[in-house]
Every structure is written in structure tokens, then in C-alpha cells.
């Protein structure tokens, strides 16, 4: 294994979410996380639309037009779920009540700066709830490929895209590593099987320190997305 699939990244994030977490999930890879949460582990998924306790997608034929996610998918609610209006929903976000948000990113800087809302040159800007989540939630986790589709590092000394929030990211789950953002900089915690820290560093645009307990990532082989990386 030299690289996780998107599902592999989501799986690795899911492993880290412990019982009692209240989590908002951004679009993309983060949306894949719930599928990998073990049955019986009580974790509550928050959605900007005013739901806490989002369950699996609605079964075909059982869709309710008034139970739709921010991403416009038909959802279900788990037992113990609640619904509320947008003031309550964003109060929960900005007030710091969620425990985690898992977001995608275009760029993350060594100091935790996050850029994921606006590509320079994008013609119509849009921010949605991204900034509120990045500012409000105590644990901002990033789930993303380690490099962009040009093979360039997404983890940088400083972001080049407009920031979503400064110094907000706490942990990065990429397809090759798990990296913590610490006051001392980026700390490499886990490396995907088949790579070594130096190989991760080679694909990272900011210096990594190798954590004392840095280990090989424990991910089933089925999430192998191996390919040659230029």
C-alpha cells in the first residue's frame, strides 16, 4: 500500500471518532466517514440544515422531502436525533458545541491555517458554512489527498489561497499520512504501509517532525489505492 483510497481516508478518520462525538462532515471524502463508523458506537452527525443525529441515506421510496441534507440528499434520523432552525444550528457551530468537523481542503499551512473555500480565479465566490465551522468547532480535522491533482503538495508553509480560517486545523488525514498540527509545527503521527517518513516529507511543502510514537497506519488492505506518484 502506498496510498489510501478516498474510502481508506474516511475509514481512518472514522477509527478516530470515539463514542459521544458530535461531528459535522464537509462535502467530499468527509461524507464517506459515516459508512465506516462501527455499529453501536454512538456518534451524532450534525448537518447545517438543522439536524443533529443524521442517519444513513433514506431508502428508495422512503424519502421525505422535508428531510434533506445541506447537500440535498435524502437523509434519515437516528433515534435520539433532533431538528432545529438555522439560528440554533449555527449557534451550535459557532458556539463551539460540536466536538469535531471533518473538512476537505485545498491547502493547509504548518500553523493550521486552512484554505478550502475559494480557488483564486473562481468566478463566483461562495463560502456557505465553511468559515463558521472552521472558526467555531474545536477540532477541525482535514480529510484530503496529500497532493493536488497536479501532484503538488497541499500542505504548505503558508497558504496561497484565501483563508477559510487561520490556525484552525488540528489534524490532517491524508491518503499517505496522519499529521498533527502542534504549536511546534507539523508532527507526523502515522505513515501508510509501504512509505517511510522521508517519502511523506517529499510530498509535503512544510517541514514535518516525526512524532516519537510515529507508526505505520493500521488500515485494511482493501483500502489500497496504490499507484506510482510522480
Amino acid at each position: 500500500m502506498m496510498k489510501l483510497t478516498r474510502e481508506g481516508i474516511a475509514y481512518r478518520v472514522a477509527c478516530e471518532l470515539t463514542e459521544g462525538c458530535y461531528v459535522n462532515l464537509g462535502v467530499g471524502i468527509p461524507c464517506l466517514v459515516p459508512a465506516f463508523l462501527p455499529a453501536g458506537r454512538e456518534i451524532f452527525i450534525h448537518n447545517e440544515n438543522g439536524t443533529l443525529g443524521v442517519g444513513p441515506p433514506a431508502a428508495p421510496g422512503a424519502e421525505d422531502p422535508d428531510l434533506v441534507s445541506a447537500n440535498r440528499e435524502f437523509i434519515t434520523l437516528v433515534p435520539g436525533a433532533s431538528v432545529f432552525d438555522h439560528a440554533a444550528s449555527f449557534g451550535m457551530i459557532i458556539g463551539g458545541h460540536l466536538t469535531h468537523v471533518v473538512l476537505g481542503a485545498m491547502e493547509v499551512a504548518a500553523n493550521g491555517d486552512l484554505a478550502n473555500w475559494h480557488v483564486p480565479g473562481q468566478k463566483v465566490p461562495g463560502v456557505g458554512g465553511a468559515m463558521d465551522l472552521a472558526f467555531g468547532v474545536p477540532n477541525v480535522w482535514i480529510a484530503m489527498t496529500h497532493v493536488n491533482n497536479k501532484g503538488e503538495p497541499k500542505i504548505l508553509n503558508a497558504c496561497t489561497c484565501p483563508l477559510t480560517a487561520p490556525r484552525c486545523v488540528k489534524r490532517i488525514f491524508s491518503d499517505i499520512a496522519v499529521i498533527d498540527v502542534t504549536p511546534g509545527g507539523l508532527a507526523l503521527r502515522e505513515v501508510v504501509p509501504g512509505l517511510d517518513p522521508a517519502a511523506v516529507q517529499a510530498q509535503t511543502g512544510a517541514p514535518l517532525s516525526v512524532a516519537q510514537d510515529c507508526r505505520e497506519m493500521d488500515v485494511p488492505e482493501s483500502f489500497n489505492g496504490v499507484r506510482l506518484i510522480a
Binding site: 462535502v27 440535498r72 456557505g128 472558526f135
Partner: protein
């Protein structure tokens, strides 16, 4: 006897005039007062300022108003959904002004308008391009942006049930922007699935008390299911 019900969307929106500021509720395709927006399209008012989370969907409702060139300014958080192409086209031609607001700030600004506050300090946006030109204040060691309230001439909202007093109940995530927008406009107009007799809605299940609602109209739900859109929409 108080009776805030009107017979048609056309009647409900008749008083909207050119240059009005209109809040339009709804989020993710739910709780969207699309039939009021369509009626407004027929009614003809132009030069509108619209406050809505997104930029409208396709060529109907708010999207249709965009298409028809009736919107002068949009205040929104997520106007770049692929389905907001009518807005995009006008925007890129420089025909619509956009005020981009983080979704939580949009919510709190509308709520502040509704509850009579002069402004709020939110952490969201400090150190980002959206803080440009805004007052930053450090309060107890954290930096906040000053945001002013949003109020409007009209709010178009959508609920599940309503009574002649204007009391409204929403189903599930219909509440979204509807509850706050109902508090922040001079004239609040609701489209509802069902008008029920007074007393049908128990005091504990009324989400928007009738005090906030000026007119309501019963409409058929349009069929058609939410589609799975391209990634990135919200």
C-alpha cells in the same frame, strides 16, 4: 375576526414594489417559498435586493427572478451552486451586486434584525478576505468582526401548516431560515401546505407565532424530488 389567509400567491405578493428588499427562506431545496417567488416573477417588481442563502435554482423561483433580471443585489452565503446558473450569468456580466456573507453570520445578522439588536460581534471571518473593511475588535482575548443586522421589507417563507392567525408549523428541516426570516421583515408572507383551523396547532408545536406573519396562502406541493447535485453544493 383576524384572517391573514389570502386566496392566491398572486394576491399575497401584490404589494411588493420596485426596489424592495426581500428575504427568501429555504435551504438545500427544503422550506423554499418557490411559489411566492414565481408569483413575484409574474407580478413584475424589479430592482430587488434579495437575501437568501444561495443564488436560486435553475430557472424557477429566485432563479427565474435572476433570469428575468429583476434582482439588483444578492446577499448570500452560497451563490455558487451549479444550479444557480441564472445568478452566475447575470453576476459575471456585472448586472447583479453580490454581498457574500458566511452562513452563520447571515443567520445571526437576520436574527439580530428580528430581535432589535444594533449589531453583533462574531468570530467568523477574522483574518480572512471576508473581513475586509469590517471593524475588528478584541474582546476578552479573542478577535471578533462587527456585523450589522439585516432587515427587509418582505420575507417570503414556507411552512407546513398555518392558521388564519398566522401561526406556523414546519416539518423537520423546513425550519431552516424560515423561523428567523419571519422575524426580520416588515411584511411576512408564508406559503403553506395546509391551512388548518385555529387550535389545531397546539401552543407547543407552533414554531412561528402568528404575530410575525402578515399573510399566508395555501399551495399544492410541487412534485419532483431533490436530485443529487454535483459535489460542492450546499
Amino acid at each position: 375576526m383576524i384572517d391573514k389567509t389570502v386566496a392566491s400567491c398572486r394576491e399575497a405578493v401584490a404589494s411588493v414594489c420596485d426596489g424592495a428588499t426581500i428575504m427568501m427562506a429555504g435551504f438545500g431545496g427544503t422550506g423554499v417559498p418557490g411559489q411566492l417567488a414565481e408569483a413575484l416573477r409574474e407580478q413584475g417588481a424589479a430592482n430587488l435586493t434579495v437575501i437568501h442563502n444561495g443564488g436560486g435554482d435553475d430557472d424557477n423561483g429566485l432563479g427565474g427572478l435572476m433570469l428575468d433580471g429583476r434582482v439588483r443585489k444578492l446577499i448570500a452565503s452560497f451563490p455558487n451552486s451549479p444550479r444557480a446558473w441564472a445568478f452566475r450569468d447575470r453576476y459575471l456580466k456585472g448586472e447583479i451586486e453580490l454581498e457574500l456573507v458566511p452562513q452563520g453570520s447571515l443567520v445571526e445578522r437576520i436574527r439580530a434584525g428580528g430581535v432589535g439588536l444594533g449589531g453583533i460581534y462574531t468570530p467568523t471571518g477574522v483574518g480572512t478576505p471576508l473581513a475586509a473593511g469590517k471593524e475588528i475588535r478584541e474582546i476578552d482575548g479573542r478577535q471578533y468582526l462587527f456585523e450589522k443586522p439585516l432587515r427587509a421589507d418582505f420575507a417570503f417563507i414556507r411552512a407546513h401548516q398555518g392558521d388564519r392567525l398566522g401561526n406556523l408549523r414546519y416539518r423537520f428541516v423546513m425550519r431552516n431560515f424560515n423561523m428567523i426570516m419571519a422575524t426580520a421583515a416588515k411584511t411576512v408572507i408564508a406559503e403553506v401546505d395546509q391551512i388548518v383551523p385555529v387550535g389545531t396547532l397546539s401552543p407547543e408545536e407552533i414554531h412561528t407565532p402568528g404575530i410575525y406573519v402578515d399573510r399566508l396562502v395555501q399551495v399544492e406541493r410541487l412534485s419532483g424530488k431533490a436530485k443529487r447535485p454535483p459535489e460542492g453544493s450546499a
